[in-house]
Amino acid sequence: MAQALRAAAPTELDGISVSIRDLSLSYGSVEVLGDLNLDVQDGEFLVLLGASGCGKSTLLNCIAGLQPATEGQIFISGQNVTWAEPSERGIGMVFQSYALYPQMTVEGNLSFGLKNARVPKDEIRRRVARAAETLQLEPLLKRKPAALSGGQRQRVAIGRALVRDVDVFLFDEPLSNLDAKLRAELRVELKRLHQNLGNTMIYVTHDQIEAMTLADRIAIMRGGKIQQLASPDVIYRKPANLYVAGFIGSPPMNLLPGRLEGNRFTGPLVADVTGYDFTTRPRGPEVVLGIRPEHVRTGAAAEALPIRAEALVEVVEPMGADTLVWAQLGQTPFRVRMDGESRVRTGDRLSIGFDPASLSLFDAASETRL
C-alpha cells in the first residue's frame, strides 16, 4: 500500500504543492477534522475561511506538523510528510500573536531557524539582509520585539518565515491583531510578496474581505469539513450550499423559501426563473431562492427585468458610497443595496427587480445548490 503510493506520487502530485488525503483529527471523542481532502496547487494562494471554531487553525497546525493527525496523509512538494517534524516539512508559519522570541533582537529572531539548521554564517547574513530589505526591516534589526509596533512585529514574523526559503507559507490570521488601516496596508504587501515570490501560501482568516482580495481559491470550512473550494468569484456568484450563501457577502444574500414548479417560483414573491443555470434538477418542490442585495435593481431599472416585486422600506442606512435598505417583502425581510445617490425613505414602496441569471436556487432539504 505504502509502496504503491510512493510510486504513484510523482505523477499524481505533479504541480501540487500541498496535498491532504482523508485527514481526520479528533480530540478524544470530539472530531475536529473529518475525512478532509484538499489539493493546493504550486504557487497558489489558498484561503481557509470559516466561522470561529470550525477547525481552520487545527488544519493549518496539521499541515505544519504541530498537531499529529489521527488519520490520513499529508504531502508537501511531493513528499509524504505525515510523520515529519515541522522543521523538515519545508514550511514557514506566521501566527496571529506574532510569537516573536522576546529576548532576541529582530536579527536574532530572523536567524534563529537558520542557526538551528546549521546554515553557514555568511549565508545567514545574506538571507537576513534580503528578508529585511523585502520587508523594510533594516533599521529595526538591532531592536527587541518589545520596541516594535504591531505592524512591525508582524513583518518580522513574516520575515522569519521568509528567510527559511521554503516552498509553502502558512498564515494563521496574521493580520487580525492589527487596526483596520494597517491591515489594509499589510494585505497589499502580502499580495505583492506572493506575486514576487510565487510560493504556495495557505492563509487562515475569518475576514471575508481578506479572503476575497487575496485568494486564488477559497476553501470555506464548517465543522471541520470543506463546504466549497473555488475561486472567490465562483464562491460569491455560485455558492455551493445555503451555508456558504449566508456566510459570504455582507450583508448576506436574501434567502426566500418557496416552491418551485417547472420554472415558476412561488414564495414571498412570484418569479419565472427561466434563464437560471441549473446544475441539477430539483428533487422536491421545496426550494430556497437566494439573491444578493447588490444584485437587486430598483425603480425604473427594475421595470425592464424579468422578476419584479414590491417591497416596503423599513430602515435606510446611508453608507456613503451606497445605501442599504432593509425592507419587507410580504412578511419576509429583504435587503437591497442601492446607489448612494438614491433617495428612499422609511414607508416608501420600493419596486424591485432582478435577473434570473444572478440568483441562486437551493434545495430546501439538502441545502445544496440546484
Binding site: L66, G92, A99, Y101, N116
Partner: protein, 316 residues
C-alpha cells in the same frame, strides 16, 4: 475653522470668552490628595503597630549581640549598648562551642553552603525541565504524573523520614552532605515543578510552535527561547529554595553527621550547649548570622520576587 463655519458666533467674541475664563479658574491637573483622613490614620497606625511588634525582638537581638556580658547582666534589654563590642560576633563565628567542637558557626555555614548551592541548582534545574515538559511535551499519562507529583507535596514529612533513612543507607549516602542534597531536591520537586508548570503554561503556545517550525528541539526551545524569558520565575524558585533549604533543621539533624551539620543545627547546638555561663550575646549574634543569608536574598531580589510570584500565579 469653526469661526468660518459659524459666522454668528464669531461676531460675539465677548460672550464666549467670559465662560471660558471662569472654566480655567476651576480644578485642573492632578487632584490634590488629603494627607490625613481617618482611614489613612487607621491603616498607618495599624502598620506601625505591626512593624513594631515584629521589629522589637530584632532590636533586642541586635542590641544584646553588641553588648558585653557585664552590661547584659545589668538588665534593661531594650537599651542600646553603652560600649559597642563585636567580640560576641567573632566568637559566635569562630570560637563558640557545641558539645563536640569549639570552632563556632563557621563550620555550619560552610556545610550549609555546600548543601544549599547544589540542592538549589539541582532542584530548580530538574523542576524547570519537568514543568516545561509537562506543559509543552505532553506525553501519555503526563497529567497522572503531575497529579502524583503534586500529591507528594501533601504527604506529611514525618511519614517519610524513616523510609528515606533506609533509602539513603542503601545508597551509601546516609550522613553525607550529598544525601541531604538529594533529600532537598526530592522534597522541593512538587512545589517548584508546579511553579514552573504554571509559568510556562501562561506563555503563549505559539511561541513554542514557532520555535518548533524553526527547527529547535526539546533542549533548544527550553534553553534558547523559554529560559531567557523566565528570569522572574527563576528568581522566585531560587528564593524559595535557598531560604527553605537554608532554614531547614529537621532533615539536617536527621540525615547528616555532626561534622556535616548545616548551620541551623550548629546554631541549635551552640545555643543549647550549657557549659558554665549562658552567653546571651554570643547566642544572639549566632542567630543573626544564621538568618543573614535568607535576609540578604530577600533584600537583593525584592522587586523581581514580587513580579515572579505574580507571573506564576496567573494560571492554574
Amino acid at each position: 475653522m469653526s469661526d468660518a463655519a459659524f459666522p454668528a458666533r464669531a461676531a460675539t467674541p465677548a460672550r464666549t470668552a467670559a465662560p471660558r475664563g471662569r472654566l480655567l479658574d476651576g480644578p485642573a491637573g492632578v487632584a490634590p490628595t488629603r494627607r490625613m483622613n481617618p482611614k489613612r490614620i487607621m491603616v498607618y497606625g495599624g502598620l506601625i503597630v505591626f512593624s513594631l511588634y515584629y521589629l522589637l525582638p530584632l532590636w533586642v537581638m541586635v542590641m544584646t549581640s553588641l553588648k558585653g556580658m557585664p552590661e547584659i547582666r545589668m538588665g534593661n534589654i531594650f537599651a542600646p549598648p553603652m560600649e559597642i563590642t563585636f567580640e560576641p560576633w567573632v566568637k559566635a563565628w569562630s570560637q563558640a562551642c557545641t558539645g563536640l567542637n569549639c570552632d563556632g558557626l563557621s563550620r555550619g555555614f560552610f556545610n550549609s553552603v555546600a548543601i544549599t548551592v547544589p540542592a538549589t541548582i539541582l532542584s530548580i534545574a530538574v523542576a524547570a525541565v519537568n514543568g516545561y515538559a509537562l506543559v509543552n511535551w505532553r506525553f501519555k499519562g503526563s497529567e497522572v504524573f503531575f497529579t502524583i507529583l503534586i500529591f507528594g507535596a501533601f504527604i506529611p514529612y514525618q511519614v517519610m523520614i524513616y523510609p528515606i533513612v533506609i533509602i539513603l543507607r542503601e545508597m551509601g549516602l546516609m550522613g553525607s552532605v550529598w544525601g541531604l542534597v538529594l533529600v532537598h531536591v526530592v522534597f522541593g520537586m512538587p512545589i517548584i515543578t508546579l511553579l514552573f508548570r504554571n509559568y510556562f503554561s501562561s506563555l503563549p503556545p505559539e511561541l513554542f510552535k514557532a520555535a518548533r517550525v524553526d527547527g529547535a528541539g526539546f533542549w533548544g526551545i527550553f534553553l534558547r527561547v523559554l529560559v531567557p524569558m523566565s528570569l522572574p520565575i527563576f528568581t522566585v524558585a531560587v528564593i524559595l529554595q535557598v531560604t527553605g533549604i537554608w532554614n531547614d533543621f529537621l532533615f539536617g539533624v536527621i540525615y547528616t553527621r555532626p561534622d556535616s551539620y548545616p548551620m541551623t543545627v550548629q546554631l541549635n547546638n551552640i545555643v543549647n550547649s550549657v557549659q558554665g555561663v549562658r552567653e546571651y550575646n554570643v547566642n544572639m549574634a549566632a542567630t543573626l548570622l544564621t538568618g543573614l543569608v535568607p535576609l540578604t536574598i530577600y533584600f537583593l531580589s525584592g522587586k523581581l520576587f514580587v513580579r515572579g510570584i505574580a507571573a506564576g500565579a496567573v494560571k492554574g
